[in-house]
């Protein structure tokens, strides 16, 4: 716990990290309280105020049904951000387990696992996710699984390279000399010491997950109507493209802001947790 506060303190002294952390906390509040804080009902139609520009009544304007865009974007934070975190969580846990185990075992097993891993990484991320969706069908949760699986090989690679560094350290040799079982060494000695770099990598990957999730929904392969998922909001706005730019700008800016948040937080954490990598 003390260590956590120390990291948070260091993060606040780093300009990128501080900005990222503040935005992240605001985002967290929005995810938890979004639907409560929303000034209007995100689903209620106002036919008198279709395609309205931002005003006092509708701070970010309205869409083609006259629905309040601010309220829609606020209540959509949950579906976009939480699902992106879940997707990254799946990819991180799976990738870390594969990478740490492969790196620890070394030798032929490592060679085989990493060659396969490289081959899977040869499939571009979005394409891989699309193929998984083709198997599972289009829905939010399938999009989350697809992104999680697509992120696994990259994460495994990062986890493995960290493991190789940790494995060479004396305390691991000591554990081995004491005769500790492999599973114990991996879980208790190696995994905890690879966590910092893995968290940095995972944080930046949340930004990718948010963008990919929105992209899949935009392509009609993720969230389905009437969800206020941000990518889907833009997809639906395409039928009314030239009437008003606000139904596109508002969710688009929300996606970019969330991605910026996690990029800043990830860069800040990298500087704090690994000062040698340099902050440029």
């Amino acid at each position: 716990m003390r260590k956590l506060f120390a990291i948070l303190g260091a993060l606040m002294r780093n300009p990128q990290g501080a900005l990222g952390l503040v935005l992240f906390l605001l985002l967290l509040a929005l995810v938890v309280l979004g639907p409560v804080l929303a000034p209007a009902d995100p689903e209620s139609f106002n036919y008198g105020a279709r395609f309205a520009a931002p005003s006092l009544e509708f701070p970010l304007g309205t869409d083609w049904y006259g629905r309040d865009l601010l309220s829609r974007v606020m209540s959509g934070a949950r579906s976009t951000v939480l699902l992106a975190l879940l997707a990254t969580g799946i990819g991180t846990v799976a990738g870390a387990l594969i990478g740490v185990l492969s790196g620890y075992l070394g030798g032929g097993a490592d060679e085989v696992v990493m060659r396969l891993n490289d081959a899977v990484m040869a499939i571009p991320g979005l394409l891989f996710a699309l193929m998984i969706i083709a198997v599972l069908g289009s829905s939010s949760i399938n999009a989350v699984i697809a992104i999680g699986i697509a992120q696994t090989p990259g994460m495994a690679r990062v986890a493995r390279s960290v493991t190789l560094q940790v494995r060479a350290l004396d305390y691991v040799s000591a554990a081995r000399a004491r005769g500790e079982p492999t599973s114990w060494i991996v879980l208790a000695e190696i995994l905890p010491n690879t966590i910092a770099p893995i968290i940095v990598e995972a944080t930046i990957r949340v930004a990718f997950a948010v963008m990919t999730l929105a992209t899949l929904s935009f392509l009609g392969l993720g969230a389905q109507p009437p969800s206020p998922e941000w990518g889907l909001m833009i997809a639906e706005a395409r039928s009314h493209l030239f009437r008003s730019p606000w139904p596109i700008i508002v969710p688009g800016a929300a996606i970019a802001l969330v991605a910026v948040t996690f990029n800043l937080l990830g860069d800040g954490l990298r500087d704090v947790l690994n000062p040698r990598s340099g902050g440029h």
């Binding site: 490289d118 991320g125 979005l126 699309l130 930004a207 596109i248």
Partner: protein
């Protein structure tokens, strides 16, 4: 660059191709509905399904099916589309050509813009130019292609401005100017997004190189600023840039899929999305395989270029 390195790298390419083809083929094996069912519809009789299954070879073991598909793919036969009943290969080849044009234009522009941009930002590190470049590229990295594409569509192709057509494709063989006009918006979208990615990397490499001992040594030897920057710093930052650009071909392929969808550009990405929506398996397999192999070959070329240019690296 030694012969063994070349052979080893080619071996990895073949290995990658095999694994990718297995994954792509594996998709058909786990799909809930089978192809015969999709062709005949949900009211097909058991006998009709069995006959069609036998005709399509779907009653054979997965390994045999895979072998049929792979040997066909190697000779350029990707089967028949379930949606249009036309052979898949010509459709995919034509779409690939268009997508390659789109990607090629974008990649060319990206290299021309992002390398000088990243270098200038690194040279003016911490000053207004650097901050502006860094800020804009940070934004570009955080903006999904479909958002930028849709915004550009609204602003530049809308009825009030009408600078570019909103969608479609004209062949360069028919009318080069009109073709350029049609391809402009997709290319601009991809160029902006990729420039953001690559100029960030070039900047970071250049900052590292500028701080390195040999650049300092060159400065201390009294070489002109221009020579230090161009001959020493820039040249050594370009090597990692090659790798970064090759890796970004992966993003580019994702971007192409999205941008083609937004601008109704009839390329490989559009065929792929269409295939997924219609569960058109042969088309999906062929499209995915061609895309993944393009990426694998791009990475191979980058590795070879890197090895050829960097005398320090002796791949055994």
């Amino acid at each position: 660059m030694s012969v063994t390195f070349l052979i080893r790298r080619l071996f990895y390419l073949v290995l990658t191709a095999i694994v990718v083809s297995m994954i792509v083929f594996g998709v058909t094996q786990v799909l809930p509905a089978n192809a015969a069912q999709m062709i005949l519809g949900e009211y097909a009789t058991e006998e009709a399904l069995a006959v069609l299954n036998a005709r399509l070879g779907l009653d054979e073991p997965a390994v045999v099916q895979y072998w049929h598909w792979l040997s066909g793919a190697l000779t350029g036969d990707f089967g028949t589309s379930l949606r249009t009943s036309q052979p898949v290969a010509p459709v995919i080849m034509e779409a690939f050509g268009r997508s390659a044009l789109l990607a090629g234009f974008s990649l060319g522009l990206v290299v021309l813009i992002s390398i000088p941009l990243g270098a200038v930002a690194a040279l003016r590190r911490g000053r207004a130019t650097d901050l502006a470049v860094s800020f804009v590229s940070y934004l570009g990295v955080s903006l999904p292609e479909f958002v930028l594409a849709t915004l550009l569509l609204v602003w530049l192709a809308g009825p009030s401005v009408g600078l570019f057509p909103a969608s479609g494709y004209i062949s360069f063989l028919v009318d080069p100017l009109d073709a350029l006009h049609h391809i402009a918006l997709p290319v601009i979208t991809l160029t902006i997004i990729l420039t953001a990615h690559i100029s960030r990397m070039v900047r970071s490499e250049m900052v590292d190189t500028l701080g390195s001992d040999f650049v300092r040594a060159a400065r201390l030897r009294g070489l002109s600023r221009r020579r230090v920057i161009v001959n020493h710093a820039l040249r050594n930052s370009l090597l990692p840039a090659i790798t970064v650009i090759a890796l970004d071909v992966g993003y580019l392929i994702g971007g192409v899929i999205v941008v083609e969808e937004v601008f109704s550009f009839p390329g490989l990405g559009r065929q792929l999305i269409l295939a997924i929506q219609n569960r058109d398996l042969p088309m999906l397999q062929a499209g995915a395989l061609v895309m993944a192999m393009t990426y694998a070959v791009a990475n191979l070329l980058a590795d070879l270029a890197y090895a050829a240019l960097d005398k320090r690296i002796q791949f055994e």
